[in-house]
């Protein structure tokens, strides 16, 4: 709670800077328009015009706030113009991709940890996989999953989200599954334990803190993946599509509102997963923080 004052101060400072920047950046258009119309601009004209352009270079904070308000609270959540409606679609994609990502990440990590050959072959490719610009392949993914017979864009979008989110899970799980030290492994050997015992009773439980810690990163990655997928698969709904549509139809306010809605949703997701992580840690006998 002692953080409130600093946060408020910083946010206020940012808002002031933002207004200043909006004034400065949007004034070019005002001057241009005046020049085209052959009129003079007074300072008060300038001030009021830069704060309420419909296609500003940088919208003033209150413009974004009111657009957000209009598209969340004022609209029915079933309306296509509602950010809540669009957010839900992105959320669905994110969660689907997240689940895929977890499954793939954990499965690969298991193979990598249990088999030397698996580690040698798969680990470098896992790293390389993240240097491929998956967006470039978005159209192909759409077409291929269409060809396989998934009618909607949900599957290709989720594939892209999963592609980005499996990696943090994989890396953490490899770390986690190899985290038991020699002593812990030897303890089980003194019991004459089988490999499966070692995996289920030692490796898997000790990887859990790493697993939970990776979830926050993974859900953020999945979210970015979902938004990018909506941007690049020509989706028509979802927050990513909203940004694109705002840009296409010359309504930048839609784009800005979608951007902020996305940040809020992402923050919410990370917070939720973080809380889940805490709860899970507690159940696992971890120290409450």
């Amino acid at each position: 709670m002692k953080n409130i004052l600093p946060i408020v101060t910083i946010v206020l400072a940012l808002i002031v800077i933002w207004y200043g920047a909006a004034f400065k950046m949007n004034s070019t258009w005002t001057y241009d328009q005046a020049a085209r119309a052959g009129t003079e601009v007074t300072f008060s004209d300038l001030l009021s015009d830069t704060m309420q352009q419909s296609r500003p270079l940088l919208p003033a904070p209150h413009q974004i706030a009111s657009e957000l308000w209009n598209t969340t609270v004022e609209k029915k959540i079933t309306s296509k113009r509602s950010m809540v409606y669009q957010g839900m679609i992105t959320l669905k994609t994110t969660l689907l991709g997240f689940v895929f990502g977890i499954v793939i990440g954990v499965a690969l990590a298991t193979v990598i940890v249990l088999s030397r050959v698996g580690r040698l072959t798969l680990m470098p490719w896992a790293i390389i996989s993240q240097t491929i610009p998956i967006v470039a392949l978005a159209p192909i993914i759409v077409v291929l999953s269409n060809a396989v017979g998934t009618g909607t864009l949900m599957v290709p979008k989720a594939i892209i989200a999963a592609y980005l989110s499996f990696y943090p899970v994989l890396v953490s799980m490899v770390k986690g599954l190899t985290s038991p030290d020699q002593m812990q492994l030897d303890l089980l050997r003194t019991y004459g334990a089988r490999q499966s015992d070692v995996f289920w009773k030692l490796r898997l439980p000790s990887s859990m803190p790493y697993f939970f810690a990776s979830l926050k990163v993974a859900v953020a990655a999945s979210f970015v993946g979902a938004v990018v997928a909506e941007l690049s698969t020509s989706a028509i709904s979802g927050l990513g599509a909203r940004m694109l549509i705002g840009s296409q139809f010359g309504e930048p306010m839609i784009m800005w509102a979608a951007l902020f809605a996305a940040a809020i949703l992402a923050g919410l997701l990370i917070f939720l997963v973080g809380s889940f992580e805490k709860a899970a840690r507690h159940l696992m006998g971890g120290r409450a923080l």
Binding site: M183, D186, Y191, K201, P205
Partner: protein, 258 residues
């Protein structure tokens, strides 16, 4: 003649490392009889841990012969002859104390119905009754160490191997645990191998003190204790005790300078 439980003859162990071979054990001969309490003492790196691990079949000697109950250590390990207590408590943080003690029972396939009995018995033994539901970090270091001993006792192995189990504890707690360990040993007549850095501890606990020296690790002295089996704590101020301690210290110093 009594057959030794653990019989080491000319045991050698060389580790192959990047910087060349490390002779961890060289020509080690030792017989340990049933019911012996054997302490290993020696400077860091002299091979105490390595030798204990050889006994437990966690490491395979590169030379010599080592038998446990007439079997190879590997076979003895498979027949679950050992309770091993590591230097750190090494409890699994995601299991409660009960859960930790239950672990070897699960793995060794004890029938579920017997678990409770075993666990309650050893919890009593180490004086942790009532703490079974706690998680390790909710206990002090000394209590954790006792829990790890309980874990090693739960399945009634004949041989108890302990690698500096009390290294991290303060003197007073250590004294207490030493006393209790002696009582336990008296009650169960287990064969115990015990690594320590502390001369008083070694003298106080053992029937046999093995002094080792490094590079390469070998045994420089084996001292049969002349102390009576019944040992109150203040036996440590006795003449006899100080004499043995002195002999151990001399043995150590000799090995150290060599």
């Amino acid at each position: 003649m009594k057959k030794p439980v653990i019989d080491a003859q000319n045991v050698d162990l060389t580790f192959q490392t990047n910087d060349g071979p490390v002779h961890a054990l060289k020509n080690v001969n030792l017989e340990i009889n049933k019911g012996d309490f054997v302490s290993f003492i020696g400077p860091s790196g002299c091979g105490k841990t390595t030798f204990l691990r050889c006994i437990a079949g966690l490491e395979t000697p590169t030379g010599g012969r080592l038998t446990v109950n007439g079997m190879t250590p590997e076979e003895a390990r498979k027949s679950r002859a050992y309770g091993y207590v590591f230097q750190a408590a090494g409890l699994y943080p995601w299991r409660t104390i009960r859960g930790n003690i239950q672990l070897p029972l699960e793995i060794m396939g004890f029938p579920k119905s017997e678990w409770k009995g075993h666990i309650d018995r050893v919890l009593d033994l180490v004086d942790l009754r009532g703490f079974g539901k706690k998680f390790p970090w909710q206990l002090s270091g000394g209590m954790q160490q006792r829990a790890s001993i309980a874990r090693a006792l739960a399945f009634d192995a004949d041989i108890l191997l302990m690698d500096e189990p009390f290294g991290a504890l303060d003197e007073i707690v250590r004294d207490k645990l030493n006393e209790e360990l002696l009582k336990l040993w008296a009650a169960t007549q287990k064969t115990i191998g015990f690594v320590t850095h502390s001369i008083p501890e070694a003298v106080y606990l053992s029937t046999k003190i093995v002094v080792m020296s490094p590079r390469p690790g070998r045994i420089t002295d084996v001292i049969e204790s002349t102390l009576p089996p019944d040992r109150p704590l203040d036996i440590r101020d006795s003449e006899e005790f100080i004499k043995i301690a002195h002999r151990v210290r001399e043995g150590l110093r000799a090995g150290h300078d060599a």
